[in-house]
C-alpha cells in the first residue's frame, strides 16, 4: 500500500538578514499510511509545530526556507501552486490548532466559520451548508447545534470551541488531519473527551491523523506509531507498544521516566531530564542531546549519530538503552 503522506528530508530554516539561519526542522522524514495515527512527540522547540505548518504550507511567506519533499498520495505539496495548495487545504488535508479561542474568528458566528469551508470545497449553497454544519456540530458532540450556529466563539466553552474546530477540520472528510497539541489549552477531563472524539471520528471516516504533542499520555492512548523529535531531528521511531515497552533512545527513556506513576511507591521522586533545550549542541558536530544525556560517551560530543534501523525501530544514538 502506498503511503498517504511521505515526508522526506524536510528542513525548515528561519532566515534573518545579517544572522545565520536558524534550523528548526533538520531533515525530518516520516510517512503516514491511510487511516493511520502517527505521533510526533517532543518538548517545546523541537520543531514539531514547524513541521506541521511546513506540511500545510502555512508558514509565513517570508523569512523561512523549506527544503526536502512532502508528498501526499504521490503529489508533491511543496511544488504545488498557491491556488493548487488552497484547493487541497481543508479538503484533502486539514489541521487543528492548539488554542481554540484564538483559532476562531471572534467577530463572526461559529456557523459561518463551519459553512465557509463547505461552500468552498463542496460547493454547498447557503441552506444546505447550514444543515450540513449543524450535522457536523452534532457529530462532534455540541448540544443544540442549530442554535450554536449563530453563537460567537466567546459564547462557547473551551471544549466546545475545540469541538467546533474539529468539525471545521473534518467538514470535507479529509484523508489527512494534523492536530497540533489539540488538547494543551484544555483542562484534563475535557482533554480526555476531545481525544476520544478524535479517535472515534478518524476511525469512522478513515482519516489518517498526525498527532503532535509533548504529552506521552496522549500518544499512549492514541497513536499507532510514534516519532520522537529532538532538536529538529527524529531520534527514535517505533510502534507505540514497542516504544512504551522498551524505549531505547536516552531521551525517550527520560521522557517516559519523567511521567508520574499511579502504581509507584508513595513519595517517589519524579525523575526529570536535566538541563533544557538551550543546552543543545548543533547536530552538525555532535549529538544535540549529549549535554543532557545520562549515557553520553566521548563520541557523542565529537560526531553526529546517524539514523539506524533495527527490527522496524529507528534510532539515532551511539549508546542506546539496551532493549529487553
Amino acid at each position: 500500500m502506498r503511503a498517504l503522506l511521505e515526508v522526506e528530508d524536510l528542513t525548515v530554516a528561519f532566515t534573518r538578514r545579517g544572522e545565520p539561519d536558524s534550523v528548526a526542522v533538520d531533515g525530518v522524514s516520516f510517512d503516514v499510511q491511510p487511516g493511520e495515527i502517527v505521533g510526533l512527540v517532543g518538548e517545546s522547540g523541537c520543531g514539531k509545530s514547524v513541521t506541521s505548518l511546513a506540511i500545510m504550507r502555512l508558514l509565513p511567506e517570508r523569512g523561512n526556507r523549506v527544503t526536502g519533499s512532502v508528498r501526499m498520495e504521490g503529489e508533491s505539496l511543496l511544488d504545488l501552486s498557491d491556488a493548487g495548495m488552497r484547493e487541497r487545504r481543508g479538503r484533502d488535508l486539514s489541521m487543528i490548532f492548539q488554542d481554540p479561542l484564538s483559532s476562531l474568528n471572534p467577530v463572526i458566528p461559529v456557523g459561518l466559520q463551519v459553512t465557509e469551508v463547505l461552500t468552498r470545497h463542496r460547493g454547498l449553497k447557503k441552506d444546505a451548508a447550514r444543515r450540513e454544519a449543524a450535522d457536523l456540530l452534532d457529530r462532534v458532540g455540541i448540544p443544540d447545534p442549530r442554535r450554536r450556529l449563530d453563537s460567537y466563539p466567546h459564547q462557547l466553552s473551551g471544549g466546545m470551541r475545540q469541538r467546533a474546530l474539529i468539525a471545521i477540520a473534518l467538514a470535507c472528510t479529509p484523508r489527512l488531519l494534523i492536530a497540533d497539541e489539540p488538547t494543551t489549552a484544555l483542562d484534563v477531563t475535557i482533554q480526555a473527551q476531545i481525544l476520544d472524539l478524535l479517535k472515534q471520528l478518524v476511525a469512522e471516516t478513515g482519516t489518517a491523523l498526525v498527532m503532535i504533542t509533548h504529552d506521552l499520555g496522549v500518544v499512549a492512548g492514541l497513536c499507532d506509531r510514534v516519532n520522537v523529535l529532538y532538536g529538529g531531528r527524529i531520534v527514535e521511531r517505533a510502534e507505540r507498544h514497542e516504544l512504551f515497552r522498551a524505549p531505547r533512545h536516552p531521551y525517550t527513556h527520560g521522557l517516559l521516566g519523567s511521567i508520574p506513576r499511579l502504581d509507584g511507591p508513595p513519595g517517589e521522586e519524579l525523575t526529570a531530564i536535566r538541563g533544557s533545550v538551550n543546552d543543545n549542541l548543533p547536530w552538525t558536530a555532535a549529538c544535540a542531546f549529549a549535554p543532557r544525556c545520562p549515557r553520553a560517551l566521548e563520541v557523542c560530543t565529537a560526531s553526529t549519530p546517524e539514523v539506524e534501523e533495527h527490527d522496524g525501530r529507528l534510532l539515532r544514538c551511539f549508546n542506546p538503552v539496551e532493549g529487553s
Binding site: M95, N105, V107, E116
Partner: protein, 334 residues
C-alpha cells in the same frame, strides 16, 4: 441598547458641569481680561474697574458662576463681548460651516485612510508601503496652518484651481435654508451654489483632513498587520479559503476595531484643527469664533463654544462605542 444610550447621555450632564467649572476658573485665571481687551490702548485701571462693574466681573467668581449656570440652563449663554449679539445665535450661524468642513475632512480621512492603510499592510515592506509610512509621518508632522497656506498658495493663488478663501463666492446669490451651503443649494435646486460651495470646501477640507488621515492610515496598517498574524487567520488559511475571503471576512472586520476608536478620537480633535484651518481660509465657522474670542477674552462666547466642543466630543465617542457593539459581538451594550 436604548438603556445604554440613555445612561450614557445622562452621564454627559455631570461631565459638562465639571467642565463648565474648569473653563470658568481657567478663563478667569488668565492674565488680562475682557475689559482690558475691549478698552485696548485707552485702558486705565479706573476704566477697567468701571467696565468690569458693568459686565458683572467685579463679583466673586462663585457668584458669577452660579449666575452663568442659572442662565445657561435656560439656554442663555449671554452676549458676545465683541459683537454684543447673543452667543447662541452666533454659534447657530457658525455651526453649519464647521460641521460641513469637519464632515468633509473626516470623509476624506476615512475614505482614503482605511484603504491606504490596508494596502500598505498588504504590501508591507515594498515601495508602496514605505512611501505610505513616510507620507503619513510628514502628514502628522506638518502644522495645519502651514499646510493650509501652502495649499492656498499653490492651488488657489498660483494655479487658480480653487478659490483662496470663504465658503461661497460673493456673486452667488444663494438662498439660505439650513445654513449648510451645499445642502441649501440642493434643497433650493440652486445647483450652481452647491457646486460653488464644494469648490470652496476642497482646500480647507484637505488641510483639515491631513492629520486624521495620516493617523487613520497608520492605525489601519498596524491593525491589519496585527490581525494578519493571528491564529484565526491561520485557521482561515488552513481551510483553503480564497485570499479575498480571508482578507474581507477575517482580517478587515477585526482590524477595524481599533480604527473606529481612532476615528472617534480624531473627530474630537477636528475642532482644534478647525480653528487653524478656518483662520487660514477665512471660513467663518466655530473655529473663527473661538479664535477671536480667545484673543479678545470674550468669556461668554468662549464658555459656550468650549462646552459645545465637549458635548460634540462626548457624543461622537458614544457613537464610537455603539459602532463597537455593531462590529464586535463580544461587546454587548446594556
Amino acid at each position: 441598547m436604548l438603556r445604554f444610550i440613555v445612561r450614557r447621555l445622562i452621564q454627559v450632564v455631570p461631565t459638562l458641569l465639571l467642565l463648565s467649572v474648569l473653563i470658568f476658573a481657567w478663563l478667569r485665571s488668565l492674565p488680562g481680561g475682557p475689559a482690558a481687551a475691549l478698552l485696548g490702548d485707552k485702558a486705565t485701571p479706573e476704566k477697567i474697574a468701571e467696565l468690569n462693574t458693568v459686565l458683572g466681573l467685579d463679583q466673586p467668581i462663585p457668584v458669577q458662576y452660579v449666575k452663568f449656570l442659572g442662565r445657561a440652563l435656560t439656554g442663555d449663554f449671554g452676549n458676545s463681548l465683541i459683537t454684543g449679539q447673543p452667543v447662541t445665535a452666533e454659534i447657530a450661524r457658525a455651526l453649519p460651516a464647521t460641521i460641513e468642513l469637519s464632515i468633509a475632512a473626516l470623509l476624506i480621512a476615512v475614505v482614503l485612510g482605511i484603504p491606504l492603510g490596508y494596502v500598505a499592510a498588504r504590501y508591507r515592506g515594498r515601495p508602496l508601503d514605505t512611501a505610505t509610512v513616510i507620507g503619513t509621518l510628514v502628514g502628522v508632522a506638518v502644522p495645519v496652518f502651514f499646510l493650509g497656506y501652502l495649499l492656498k498658495q499653490w492651488f488657489a493663488v498660483d494655479l487658480g484651481w480653487f478659490p483662496p478663501s470663504g465658503r461661497q463666492a460673493v456673486d452667488i446669490d444663494a438662498t439660505h435654508v439650513t445654513g449648510f451651503a451645499i445642502l441649501d443649494g440642493l434643497v433650493t435646486r440652486e445647483f450652481d451654489a452647491s457646486w460653488d460651495a464644494i469648490v470652496h470646501l476642497v482646500l480647507p477640507a484637505i488641510a483639515l483632513a491631513t492629520i486624521p488621515l495620516a493617523v487613520i492610515v497608520r492605525i489601519t496598517r498596524a491593525s491589519v498587520l496585527d490581525v494578519m498574524g493571528s491564529d484565526f487567520v491561520r485557521t482561515a488559511n488552513s481551510k483553503g479559503l480564497a485570499p479575498s475571503t480571508v482578507r474581507e471576512r477575517h482580517v478587515l472586520r477585526n482590524a477595524l476595531l481599533p480604527v473606529s476608536t481612532t476615528i472617534g478620537l480624531q473627530t474630537g480633535l477636528l475642532l482644534a484643527g478647525a480653528v487653524l484651518t478656518e483662520k487660514v481660509f477665512v471660513w467663518g465657522g466655530l473655529g473663527t469664533l473661538l479664535a477671536d474670542a480667545i484673543t479678545r477674552r470674550d468669556y461668554p462666547r468662549l464658555q459656550a463654544v468650549v462646552l459645545l466642543g465637549a458635548l460634540v466630543y462626548v457624543l461622537v465617542n458614544l457613537l464610537v462605542d455603539l459602532s463597537y457593539a455593531l462590529i464586535d459581538p463580544r461587546v454587548r451594550v446594556r
